[in-house]
């Protein structure tokens, strides 16, 4: 508690320790304010909202800075549907105590839900319109408007009360009683609602009151009857089956729904699915046909491409053959060049000369080529023949007849007087099993070198071949 004059914290004494002001009465006022606040809180807890408003007003009249009382008053107003009054109290509370104030939270709750705030504002406007209708004697319009208000905000107590009054005025006491009861449910200490309820009950006919009570009893789940001088109120005995008749209706509805789906909806759905599957199959088979036709086309294309490839290959081989004469020319000139530069480098000369194949020159060798070749052979033929003969004979001795045939052929080609090379060439053919070529070579030995020992040996070999063939 703070001093009203200087704001210093007060002690238990009856004067301010700071300024010396007398605070005895002031303390009593603050204490009284707190007492009213407690009373208001108790009343609010039992939903006596009218009584709570009264107590809290008293509390605030005594001490305007009673923040808790002001915040609670705002909450009670909010509960009654008086949103603007509630907000006003919270704003004042916030103004009086800016820090650590629960009013912040309350205002945030309202602010953070703008649609709800708008609904409250609409209900207030409609209520005011309804009140205006009442003043202008348009009571039916007022009733309609109030029903709308209560559908939007069922907690608006003054709307319930005004509607109850209108029902009382037009003689609809049962409805007036209902509205008054709703008001009392929201605000148990509302004097106006109690008066309207009493008035409605007083004006209702006994049978109306009875039926109204029965309706209420049913709603409350009790049976009321009189036994002698006592009125007995007994809870209605109800089990799951009687109480929840609607559940059976729901179950029956579900079963019928499933049956309808099974017998009516499902076949049609299956049929439609089958139709869609058939369409899919037809489209897939069409696609497959088109693809197989395309495959046939591709196969034809492959065959034509293969034939084209073959023709190109043959064309290329012919080009290669044509190029062989050029290659032979080059090799011959290279060999000559090597020899002219260094006549001792016979290995290189032989390599180039071995590469020349006289039998495969396209269109035959030219005169210039033949002249150059023959002239060169005069110079190097004997030496090349010796070298080739040595290679061929070694190969023959080693039974490598293929190499022997190639080397001995070259040896005789380089020097056509080398009878040993020709005879051993025949032997190599003979040993390799090529008797036809062997016979040709032996014949050549016999005819061209008739006076040599090789010729007589060739005759012997030829006779062996002939005897073997016979």
């Amino acid at each position: 508690m703070k001093c009203y004059q200087c704001g210093a914290e007060l002690t238990e004494r009856e004067y301010c320790p700071n300024c010396g002001a007398a605070v005895k009465v002031y303390k009593r006022i603050i204490s009284l304010s707190n007492r009213y606040y407690n009373e208001g809180l108790e009343r609010a807890e039992v939903r006596d909202l009218s009584g709570a408003i009264e107590s809290l007003h008293q509390s605030l009249k005594l001490n305007k800075s009673n923040i808790q009382a002001r915040n609670l008053l705002g909450l009670v107003y909010y509960e009654c549907g008086e949103v603007v009054a509630a907000l006003s109290e919270w704003v004042i509370s916030k103004n009086l105590k800016p820090d650590e104030n629960a009013a912040d939270d309350y205002m945030d709750l309202v602010r953070n839900d703008p649609s709800r705030l708008e609904t409250f504002n609409q209900t207030i406007k409609k209520f005011n319109i309804a009140l205006n209708h009442c003043h202008q004697d348009r009571l039916d319009m007022a009733v309609i408007q109030l029903k709308k208000v209560l559908s939007m905000n069922p907690g608006f107590i003054r709307a319930h009360l005004l509607l109850a009054l209108l029902y009382l005025n037009n003689g609809n006491y049962a409805k007036a009683k209902t509205e008054a009861q709703k008001s009392l449910k929201l605000d148990t200490g509302n004097v106006m609602a109690q008066r309207y309820l009493k008035e409605a009950e007083a004006m209702m006919l006994p049978q109306d009151a009875k039926s109204s009570d029965e309706n209420n009893d049913k709603k409350n789940g009790v049976v009321r009857y009189t036994s002698g001088n006592e009125t007995i109120i007994q809870p209605v005995r109800s089990n799951v089956f009687t109480r929840s008749g609607s559940i059976w209706g729901i179950v029956l509805g579900v079963v019928l729904g499933i049956a309808a789906a099974y017998y009516l909806i499902l076949p049609a759905r299956i049929q439609s699915m089958n139709a869609s599957f058939r369409e899919q199959i037809a489209s897939i088979s069409e696609e497959s046909d088109s693809k197989s036709a395309k495959m046939g086309e591709y196969e034809q294309q492959i065959a034509s491409l293969n034939s084209e490839l073959e023709s190109l290959k043959s064309e290329m081989s012919s080009y290669e053959e044509n190029g062989s004469s050029g290659s032979a020319d080059n090799d011959l000139m290279a060999a000559v060049s090597i020899y002219l530069n260094n006549s001792d480098d016979m290995d290189a000369v032989q390599e180039k000369m071995d590469a020349i194949d006289l039998n495969n020159i396209e269109g035959g060798a030219s005169t210039q080529f033949t002249d150059l070749y023959n002239s060169f052979m005069v110079l190097v033929g004997t030496e090349l023949s010796k070298r080739s003969y040595a290679t061929g004979y070694d190969a023959y001795r080693n039974q490598d007849y293929e190499t022997a045939i190639r080397a001995l052929s070259k040896a005789f080609q380089y020097d056509n007087t080398n009878v040993d090379a020709l005879y051993n060439l025949g032997n190599a053919y003979y040993e390799s099993g090529d008797t036809d070529n062997a016979k040709v070579v032996y014949d050549q030995v016999i005819n061209d070198f008739s006076d040599t020992g090789s010729a007589s040996s060739a005759e012997t070999k030829l006779a062996e071949i002939n005897n073997a063939s016979n």
């Binding site: 009203y4 004059q5 002001a21 007398a22 009465v25 002031y26 006022i29 603050i30 304010s33 605030l60 009249k61 005594l62 001490n63 305007k64 800075s65 008086e82 949103v83 603007v84 009054a85 907000l87 006003s88 704003v91 004042i92 705030l117 409250f120 504002n121 207030i124 406007k125 209520f127 005011n128 009140l131 009442c134 003043h135 003054r158 009360l161 005004l162 009054l165 009382l168 005025n169 106006m192 008066r195 309207y196 008035e199």
Partner: protein, 56 residues
């Protein structure tokens, strides 16, 4: 028996949000503590006046 006209007069229009600012500004916030402080001030002023007033 309730008199409809009299009862209707007890209903006041509800406060609308547009009027909130005006309501807050116009609210009389004086409490009993303010009244008490005023009383003290008046009493003190009266006493001061009595002391400064010349004796006849």
């Amino acid at each position: 028996m309730i008199n409809f006209e009299n009862e209707l007069k007890k209903f006041r229009p509800s406060l609308e949000i547009e009027d909130a600012e005006e309501i807050i500004y116009n609210q009389d916030l004086d409490d009993m503590a303010d009244v008490l402080v005023g009383l003290f001030k008046d009493a003190k002023a009266e006493e001061m006046g009595r002391q400064t007033r010349p004796r006849q």
